[in-house]
């Protein structure tokens, strides 16, 4: 077992991990941050996306030890300081961008990374960016719409309901 230390959602944390312990396991089991989900075992589904030093990372694809000293942000760290939903979270609720909620944390984390890089993405750019996030409930329509709305764009560009 090795000791790892990092900052998660602004809070310094540390814990003992095995070499094979994945970052997602450390977050879920070590820190009890169960908002980050595991939906597959081939790094495809994106339910486990978190931010590591400002970049979107699939936390099932990184060992906990690789995050030594890193700044990690998870879905639990995405709301506003007063606990209200952030712009992206609020847009997901307003536009029904989630159903069962299981892929949602990864979707929100990916959306945040996208908008940080590209504040006004087109529909095609959003769809392309979400290549690594699978949703089985929504058909993506309202996720795309929510991300466009969160970027301040007119969502009537998305086909009418």
């Amino acid at each position: 077992m090795t000791k790892v230390s990092m900052t998660v959602n602004g809070r310094p944390v540390s814990g003992e991990v095995e070499g094979r312990t994945l970052l997602v396991q450390f977050l879920r089991e070590g820190l009890g941050l169960t908002g980050t989900h595991v939906g597959c075992d081939t790094s495809q589904c994106g339910a486990c996306v978190v931010h590591v030093d400002g970049r979107a990372v699939k936390s099932c694809t990184m060992f906990a030890q690789e995050a030594e000293g890193a700044e990690v942000v998870t879905i639990e760290g995405m709301a506003n300081a007063d606990g209200s939903l952030s712009v992206i979270q609020q847009a997901f609720q307003d536009h029904h961008g989630l159903q069962c909620g299981f892929c949602t944390p990864g979707m929100v984390m990916s959306a945040a990374a996208l908008l940080a890089d590209n504040p006004h993405p087109s529909e095609a750019e959003i769809r392309a960016y979400l290549e690594g996030n699978i949703c089985r409930c929504t058909g993506y329509h309202n996720i795309v719409k929510a991300i466009m709305a969160a970027s301040g764009q007119d969502v009537s560009a998305i086909a009418a309901e």
Partner: protein, 788 residues
């Protein structure tokens, strides 16, 4: 002006706040003090004789608590099947045993053989590698027709062959149907495959068993769409635990689509092992494991024939389907190719004579059961494909041939045993023409052509029977369960309500939409109503959520219970205002005496119910809590018309969906935002089936498409934006809300629209020999079809 609250309002979902902030509580988020971890050792071969399991090395590994094998389950019941189909000759289906852990034979890749329980998950995984399994491989049976051939290897040695049942529906119509074909002016024949799919809810299955030695109570936390059904099946049939000593909790569940209806071995194992070991036992499915253990869907091979007169009127329909059951009968598997499929073969049309034959077959593959739509997509696909083919053969427009045959008078009794209560199929087709701009297709066709693309338009209608289901009817059809739903409405002293429903929400948004209904009935704020579901300890016995039944059946139970509440509250209000109960009106959360200005607030009445100082105790009991069980007297029949426009790349065969429009009639709508979302999701699953998805087995019975690297899950870039409309509304006549259900429509109506569109694109571009391509329409298949 859309409503801003209550029935008909697009109320934002209250459950979203926890899901968006990482505060959802899914089964894998549950960790009990002292829990041990279970890892299953599974068959790596499709068919084999299990000669021995050596657990000695594994048992000696660090952290291992115990290794279980089939021998530990010899005195335990098998997993039961909940539906018995009677065959064409009046005989019951062949029903094999389904042990929790393999006994004597393994019958599909993934069949559980042993389980290691250890202190940590890593220790259990390591030790599972050390379990030595001695299997004598046997030849597997994979192809259904080969499985029925003389001398084929038997999946179950104690059965007579691999035929589960040979079902005829309606058997008495068989000769009349054949005679109609003899006389028909035109007969269109189509052979097709409705391929096997893997449901793939994003949350893998999880089970956590717990046991309290002091009380003898068992608890199972599980990823289920119907915790009461699991409690009954597992308690009564597998483990012999009476319901009052067994609690099943399905907390937040990350999607189901049918695959979490069924009772699985892992649930029984964790409950059993927790009691044996006197400590909690947790199992979390990996995605790879879910591919080989979650029940799959579809997998039908069908020949369909449509007889028409010279003007294109449907005269008779005849089908022969081979339906794959897989290696065992999953909980509701026998019902899917029969009663959920045969009864839908009339579609939206006045076909007077129909005969459906289904041969259900055992093979060495993962069991197949209900997956979103369950039987109804299979029915709709073959019907809407053969109609399209018939129209082309007869030189008719695909919309015209459908309109010519639409049922227009309701109620309508079909020749396949169901009675449609309401519908207006011309209206949804008209609406489709409007929202899809069908009139503008020729221009778009020209634009595509100018860009070197082959454009096609696919249209179809669909109907589904949902709101499952009248108990008296399904009982006659072989269901070993009732299919009512339940609700308890508990009003608190200060006026807030808790509704405990037997339905289960795993993405459908019941916590919001159910609250809208109750709040609307009483005239109070939606936030005064809380919806509780998913725990057998605090909800009445209910059958759960599937078959687009929750609002139509569960919502109706809730309405009935709320009506009882209102009736009692009116008596209390009448007492408080010294008036007759029949003169009391409830509006906007206030009780008034008709024709007077007397009024008491909802909260005054609820307080009086619990503080009965001034109360008609001689007439009614204190308190305000009512339960209702609702058993529908018919299915509901949502229907609609869908269109898809595609562009095919002539060089590669790649299909791009340019637009998809859905005009649905769901009857009355409680939350239009949620309904839109349900349709979107269904469309994506249907389009996924049409273009991308398919479970592929090799000749040895190995699942080739066993991960997200290999199974083509639809991604955002594969999907178009959708145009959906549900303004055509013919309310259901037999439930109090007039609702029909919307969960499965998209998955039922979309595959034929996509395939019709691709065939249309090829036909229009001169590939006139292409009359059908089997799903998924991958570039390779479409390209091959174009090569002739």
């Amino acid at each position: 002006m859309p409503k801003d609250h209550g029935i008909g309002a697009p109320s934002k979902r209250r459950e979203d706040v926890r899901f968006l902030t990482g505060q959802g509580r899914y089964t894998d988020d549950i960790n009990l003090h002292g829990q041990a971890h279970a890892v299953f050792v599974r068959s790596q071969v499709a068919h084999g004789r299990l000669n021995g399991v050596d657990t000695a090395a594994a048992a000696a590994m660090p952290g291992v608590i115990r290794v279980f094998t089939g021998a530990d389950f010899e005195g335990v019941g098998g997993l039961p099947c909940g539906w018995q189909v009677t065959d064409r000759h009046g005989q019951p289906m062949q029903e094999p045993g389904h042990p929790v852990l393999a006994q004597g034979k393994v019958r599909h890749v993934g069949d559980p053989i042993a389980v290691v329980v250890a202190e940590t998950l890593e220790q259990a995984r390591d030790a599972a590698e050390a379990v030595e399994v001695d299997i004598e491989e046997l030849e597997p049976v994979l192809d259904m027709k080969a499985a029925l051939a003389e001398g084929a290897p038997k999946v179950h040695d104690d059965l007579t062959g691999n035929l589960c049942y040979d079902w005829g529906f309606v058997e008495e119509n068989r000769e009349a149907v054949n005679a109609a074909f003899q006389k028909a002016a035109h007969v269109t024949t189509l052979e097709l495959v409705n391929q096997r799919l893997v449901p793939n809810a994003m949350e893998p299955r999880v089970a956590v068993g717990d046991y309290a030695p002091a009380t003898g109570d068992s608890t199972l936390y599980t990823t289920s769409q119907n915790p009461h059904v699991i409690r009954l099946l597992m308690g009564a049939f597998v483990l012999g635990i009476p319901e009052h000593k067994l609690r099943v909790v399905a907390p937040d569940v990350g999607g189901g689509f049918g695959s979490k209806i069924f009772h699985y071995a892992e649930e029984a194992f964790c409950t059993f092992a927790a009691k044996q070991l006197r400590r909690p036992v947790k199992w979390t499915c990996t995605r790879s494991e879910s591919f080989i253990t979650d029940a799959h869907g579809r997998d039908h091979v069908t020949k369909i024939e449509l007889a028409l007169d010279a003007e294109g009127h449907f005269q008779a329909l005849r089908t022969e389907t081979y339906a794959n059951m897989g290696a065992y009968l999953s909980t509701f598997a026998p019902s899917v190719p029969t009663w959920l499929h045969g009864t839908l073969m009339a579609g939206n049309y006045k076909t007077p004579l129909i005969y459906v034959n289904v041969k259900a077959v055992f093979t060495n593959t993962v069991p197949v059961d209900a997956y979103r739509g369950a039987g109804r997509p299979e029915a709709t696909f073959q019907l809407e494909r053969v109609i399209d083919k018939a129209a082309r053969e007869m030189g008719m427009d695909p919309v015209d041939i459908r309109r010519k045959n639409f049922i227009t008078e309701f109620p309508y009794a079909t020749p396949v045993a169901v009675e449609y209560d309401t519908g207006d199929y011309h209206a949804t087709m008209d609406k489709l023409a409007e929202i899809a701009d069908l009139a503008g297709f020729e221009k778009r066709l020209a634009d595509s052509k100018a860009r070197g693309k082959l454009r096609g338009l696919g249209i179809n209608s669909y109907i589904e029977a949902c709101g499952i289901a009248p108990s008296h009817l399904v009982g006659q059809l072989g269901a070993r369960a009732g299919l009512y739903e339940s609700a308890t409405v508990r009003v608190n002293a200060t006026g807030g309500l808790v509704v405990m429903t037997g339905s289960h929400s795993h993405g459908q948004g019941h916590e919001t939409s159910f609250a809208q209904v109750v709040a609307d009935m009483i005239g109070i704020d939606e936030n005064m109503v809380e919806i509780v579901h998913g725990d057998t300890a605090n909800t009445p016995m209910g059958m759960g959520t599937y078959g687009s039944r929750s609002l139509a059946v569960g919502g109706s139970a809730m309405v009935r219970a709320t009506e009882k509440i209102i009736a009692k509250a009116k008596k209390i209000a009448a007492h408080l205002m010294e008036a007759a109960p029949e003169d009391i009106e409830l509006k906007d959360g206030a009780f008034t005496v008709a024709g007077t200005d007397k009024s008491v607030a909802w909260g005054d009445v609820t307080l009086a119910a619990y503080v009965p100082h001034n109360y008609p105790l001689e007439e009614i009991e204190p308190g305000l809590e009512e339960t209702a069980f609702y058993d529908p007297n018919n299915f509901t029949y949502p229907a609609g018309a869908y269109s898809c426009e595609v562009e095919v790349d002539p060089d590669t065969g790649k299909v791009e969906i340019c637009s998809f429009a859905a005009a649905d009639d769901f009857g009355n709508i409680v939350n239009p935002m949620i309904v839109d979302g349900q349709v979107h999701g269904g469309l994506a699953q249907g389009i996924g089936q049409a273009l991308l998805e398919g479970a592929a087995y090799d000749e040895y019975g190995q699942l080739l498409s066993g991960s997200y690297m290999d199974y083509a899950m639809p991604r955002a870039g594969d999907m178009p934006s959708f145009t959906v409309d549900h303004s055509c509304q013919t309310p259901c006549t037999h439930n109090p809300l007039g609702v029909k259900g919307c969960g499965e429509a998209g998955a039922i109506g979309s595959p034929p629209a996509v395939v019709n569109a691709v065939v249309d694109a090829l036909q229009r571009s001169g590939h006139t020999n292409v009359t059908h391509i089997d799903m998924p329409l991958t570039p390779a298949r479409v390209w091959a079809a174009m090569q002739g």
